[in-house]
């Protein structure tokens, strides 16, 4: 007995919205993307065969978002060079790690939103959604090794943003 769309897909509506919200950075666009994605999911439901429904739905969310906002999605892609080296001085590690601990939820949210989409999405998928590298690779459409290096660089960048903010007086440059 095949399971119904409701049983399989609806439980992941929050995951879909959370991902869309972090991609679009606003509620209205996120709702539009999720609504479109839901329709597509419904349409392609018969093609879902035993894969993880959440990763499948999130892939559709991402494709929908990419289709709706090609320019924004495209420019975000351009800003990321996965091979680029980005090492910070070891001497700064200790105070930096301490500063990171003191961030408020709001500061973290803002810092995440300043990251290029490619970095932000892997962090969200890994830390908030708890997905494996393999699932992230499938959703984002990149090789497993790239997931690893991109996540590492994303964390590094986020730490950099948080530390810079803190050292320069917190809210500088923020609305």
């Amino acid at each position: 007995m095949p399971r119904s769309f409701e049983e399989v897909v609806l439980p992941h509506l929050d995951a879909a919205f959370n991902y869309a919200r972090w991609l679009t950075k606003n509620d209205a666009d996120a709702e539009d993307v999720v609504q479109d994605a839901y329709l597509r999911a419904l349409r392609f439901f018969s093609s879902l065969r035993g894969e993880d429904a959440r990763a499948w739905l999130l892939t559709i969310v991402r494709n929908t978002w990419y289709g709706r906002f090609p320019r924004r999605a495209g420019s975000a892609v351009m800003t990321v060079a996965d091979e680029e080296e980005d090492h910070r001085a070891d001497a700064s590690l200790d105070p930096e790690a301490q500063l990171i601990q003191q961030q408020t939820v709001e500061q973290v949210r803002r810092a995440l939103e300043t990251l290029p989409t490619d970095f932000r999405e892997v962090l969200v998928l890994r830390e908030l959604e708890g997905l494996s590298y393999k699932e992230i690779a499938a959703i984002v459409g990149i090789p497993l090794g790239t997931v690893m290096s991109r996540l590492a660089r994303a964390r590094e960048r986020l730490a950099g943003v948080l530390a810079t903010r803190e050292l320069s007086g917190g809210h500088r440059g923020l609305p």
């Binding site: 409701e6 919205f17 959370n18 349409r43 289709g67 906002f69 590690l93 973290v108 995440l112 964390r155």
Partner: protein, 246 residues
């Protein structure tokens, strides 16, 4: 393992994504190396930080819209799935026309079959991300690109003045023949126009319909058969067709 190797693996180590043997090597090194222990602690603290970021739950209104829009609890067959999708699109856009076509799937005559094909072509292009073979807003670049690739010259007009800029074109395959697909945009939306010469003796027809949530327009002009497909609203699509026919 030296520090440099370990540094590149710390994230995957923390995420539990390393092979057991590699993971053990990393742990052995970290146990013995204060600098790497510090790096590990930093990566860990960033992870904890991110996990404190907001998890946005689907708004109740959205959830209600999506669940109430589906009267049938099960989509066990292909047709039911389709019908449900169309019913849902209809309920979201308020169009009754779509409901009817969903409830009584007709035998496809050739125009219906072509309409289905162009919608599939539109969806395929958007989903597969192969929207362009030639990407240009210049009609004088797009038009010659088709030379030698098709046995006809599709008329190519930029409609930027009318609010529908041309963004490119590609070869597509519809009704058992290669056709020209021209790509226009309206805001965030994409409009695909499929063009090919009319078969001799074909009945001239014009047609407006909605399929799977996409709006479709069909007309003939100067020996060419045109199909426009998009998710823009009816009014915009009519305006587009009007501009193209000028």
């Amino acid at each position: 393992m030296d520090c440099r190797e370990v540094e590149g693996l710390l994230d995957a180590y923390l995420d539990g994504e390393l092979e057991p043997a590699v993971s053990t090597s990393v742990r052995t090194h970290v146990d013995a190396c204060a600098a790497c222990r510090q790096r590990l602690a930093k990566v860990e603290s960033i992870g904890r930080m991110v996990r404190r970021a907001p998890y946005y739950q689907a708004p109740a209104g959205l959830r209600a819209r999506l669940t109430q829009a589906r009267p049938r609890p099960r989509a066990t067959s292909h047709w039911l799935g389709w019908a449900a999708a169309v019913v849902m699109v209809a309920s979201l856009t308020g169009s009754v026309l779509m409901l009817k076509s969903a409830q009584a799937p007709r035998t496809l005559d050739s125009v219906d079959a072509v309409a289905q094909e162009v919608v599939s072509g539109h969806v395929r292009a958007l989903m597969g991300e192969h929207l362009f073979d030639v990407r240009s807003t210049d009609q004088h670049t797009v038009k010659p690109w088709f030379l030698g690739k098709l046995d006809f010259a599709p008329p190519v007009t930029d409609l930027a003045q009318a609010g529908f800029p041309l963004t490119g074109g590609r070869l597509d395959y519809v009704a058992d023949r290669p056709v020209a697909a021209l790509v226009y945009t309206r805001g965030q939306h994409t409009i695909n126009v499929f063009v090919w010469p009319e078969a001799s003796g074909a009945v001239r027809s014009s047609d407006a319909r909605a399929i799977r949530g996409f709006h479709v327009r069909h007309w003939s002009r100067a020996g060419m058969s045109y199909w426009a497909v998009s998710d823009v609203n009816d009014t915009d699509l009519d305006q587009f067709v009007h501009a193209l026919q000028q």
